[in-house]
């Protein structure tokens, strides 16, 4: 059983092949967002009757079969008002859509209208892979959406996506723990400072922590700290304010007021379900998870508007419709996206899917102001009332994903590994500036 050269060569080849063979799918999901809105079909851009038959390929994320009736009805409406245009609707799982889009783009077969979350839309938009919708939309259409959400995908004055359904974060409270700490859930905290005080009192009186959070780059903008400078040419987060924010976070973790953990969404669900924390800051999708994982805790939970940080904004998590640059029917594609995201259709979708709309006009509907007292309705009302302050904060440069991960790593180094704050901020600043200078 001696070794031979051929065998050796083959194993080396295999070694390399195994290394380079691509591993599994794409993680990186963020719970389903909640609603958006946009322009109207045919407004501004007159409905274009196609000279030749046009087939639009429309992709969504995880909406079949639940909403088949809603979409088939809309598609029929659109096709009736646009003779010669047919829409082919395909639906993909959350994890698959980015890979599908990449592979179809690589093979030169681009879809025409695609449903993407803001992070991916801004990433593709900033790399020039999406159609600049500003050239197609009227002012009136552009202004029909909540500015914060619409502007999340505007770079250099070019709009790369139409906001669709969205969700803003609310504050979920474990009523039992809050009352046990001698606090009144009827007068919830309004600011981050008040929330911290509440969390401290909960920790002192009940032993539970206040809340768990994920250490991600958005913690900076929540506190009014810009990640990049105005013209996006350099890092701007290395400030005394950032130091103060991180110092406070570190102290709160030491005290046990905030869990010393980089807790992703699934861990946050575990902690809230196990009553190890009294508060949860997230979108309404959280409700379904605790409903199944901890029915007793669900019964004891109330939802209130999220206390804002220094920046006085609430982060939303939106879905958008984009038109890839390589779409062969850009005019019809934009019209279809605008039709799907107009106020009327967004309101209808919100009712069907229990999401929030991104169109200003939709929010006037009683559906968003009346509550039957259930946790779902409370969360809906609380979050819809904060849409005017909502924004999907995006760095908005081609290398955004790199920058976000550098910041997240820096926060983890400081808060989990005990690294020096100033030193780490300097290091991450240098890294971010390098990333920007490399530009991809």
């Amino acid at each position: 059983m001696g070794t031979n050269r051929k065998g050796f060569t083959v194993s080396l080849l295999l070694t390399m092949s195994m290394l380079l063979a691509a591993c599994g799918g794409n993680g990186n999901t963020k719970g389903t967002p909640d609603a958006g809105s946009t322009g109207e079909p045919g407004t501004g851009a007159e409905a274009t009757a196609a000279a030749e038959p046009v087939k639009l390929e429309f992709w969504t994320i995880a909406l079949q079969p639940t909403f088949n009736d809603y979409f088939n009805n809309l598609i029929t409406q659109y096709e009736d008002s646009h003779p010669g245009v047919t829409v082919e609707w395909k639906d993909y799982p959350y994890d698959a859509i980015s890979q599908r889009l990449l592979t179809s783009t690589a093979s030169g077969k681009s879809p025409d209208v695609v449903n993407l979350n803001t992070e991916f839309a801004s990433q593709l938009g900033s790399k020039g892979a999406l159609l600049n919708l500003s050239e197609y939309l009227t002012d009136e259409q552009a202004k029909s959406y909540f500015e914060g959400i619409y502007n999340s995908t505007v770079f250099d004055g070019k709009a790369y996506a139409l906001p669709w359904y969205t969700g803003t974060e609310v504050l979920f409270m474990n009523k039992k723990l809050v009352e046990k700490a001698g606090l009144d859930p009827a007068n919830p905290p309004q600011t981050r400072e008040e929330l911290v005080e509440w969390a401290r009192q909960v920790h002192e009186k009940t032993g539970a922590a206040g809340y768990a959070q994920q250490l991600v780059s958005k913690l900076f903008p929540i506190d009014g700290i810009s990640i990049l400078n105005e013209d996006k040419t350099a890092a701007a987060f290395n400030t005394p304010e950032a130091e103060a924010m991180i110092t406070q976070m570190r102290d709160l973790m030491k005290e046990g007021v905030v869990l010393k953990e980089d807790a992703d969404f699934s861990k946050q669900i575990q902690y809230f379900s196990g009553e190890q924390v009294a508060f949860q800051l997230s979108g309404p999708t959280f409700i379904n998870f605790i409903k199944t994982s901890a029915p007793d805790v669900y019964k004891n939970t109330i939802a209130v508007p999220l206390p804002t940080g220094k920046a006085n904004l609430r982060l939303s998590n939106s879905m958008n419709l984009v038109v890839p640059q390589k779409s062969k029917n850009p005019q019809q594609a934009v019209e279809f996206a605008a039709f799907l995201t107009n106020a009327e259709n967004q309101t209808a979708f919100s009712k069907a899917a229990n999401t929030l709309p991104s169109s200003k006009a939709s929010i006037q509907d009683p559906f968003f102001t009346e509550s039957d007292g259930s946790l779902e309705a409370e969360a809906k009302v609380a979050s819809s009332q904060s849409l005017d302050k909502a924004t999907d904060y995006m760095v908005g440069v081609p290398s955004a994903a790199d920058i976000n991960s550098a910041l997240a790593r820096g926060l983890q180094e400081i808060l989990m590994n005990g690294a020096d704050i100033k030193e780490t901020l300097n290091k991450v600043e240098k890294e971010v500036n390098t990333i920007i200078s490399q530009g991809s």
Partner: protein
Amino acid sequence: MYKGFRSESFTAWAFMAPGLLFLAVFTFWPIIYGIPLSLTDYSVITETNYVGLDNFTRAFQDHNFLISLWNSLVYVLIVPVIQIISILMAILVNSRIPGVKMFRAAYYIPVVTSMVAVALIWSWLLGNNGVVNYLLLKAGIISEQVSWLSTSSTALYVLMFITMWKGLGYYMMLYLAGLQGIPADLYEAARVDGAGPLRLIVHVTLPLLRPHILFCTLISVMGAIRVFDEVYILTKGGPGTSTLTSSVYIFQKGLEQFNFGYASALGLIVSVMVGALSVLVFRLNRKGGVNSY
């Protein structure tokens, strides 16, 4: 030539063809294609430009990549541990103790369990309020809860342990096959010469297992450097860069940030590194085994 087609080798190639074709399309071609790709800034969605060796120079200045290489090398430390334990396990389950078959099956179960399931189970066990902390607190070994996967000093070692726990049964089975191929008369002869159990292992079992040790060490080294699933599921390389391994970093650069050109360059660098380590493993394990002549 024509005669050759009718020969045994033709039959062998015919049997291997489907597998080779599959490998050619999904393995060899991507590797070869990765080489020109590593000289570009390919990202699928934007114009592709030739950048020469920029990706490689960038790689060696990329602090995170260097850390990921270091972590991958640290990960290789589990290889000898896995081999030693799995050889001992194989020797144990090779004995004629009653109920030994049950142990063989039990040790092998983690191998056939999906890594996602294994990772999730361990994430619960190792959680702040998990069983591990509970038992260690009860036993007085630790005085307060430890966030095993969120603490930089423990996270990488915990991941290594999980990798080891899942892989042991696999290597044990390979060694068991090797043990059963060792002629019994060699042991008899050694016993006649007065060798005790330990001497039998050192002077008979281990030398004759060398080809198996070589094979297992090689795939174990490759596995350790390529480790992805458990790291990605449990820590995504965090906290900070404590558990960032080369595969996870390459995945992030390519499939999350669309820097496929750069990710290809990183992949090639890691491939060369694995190649070098493989040569080293071969050099260290040249002799031994049962020769059939």
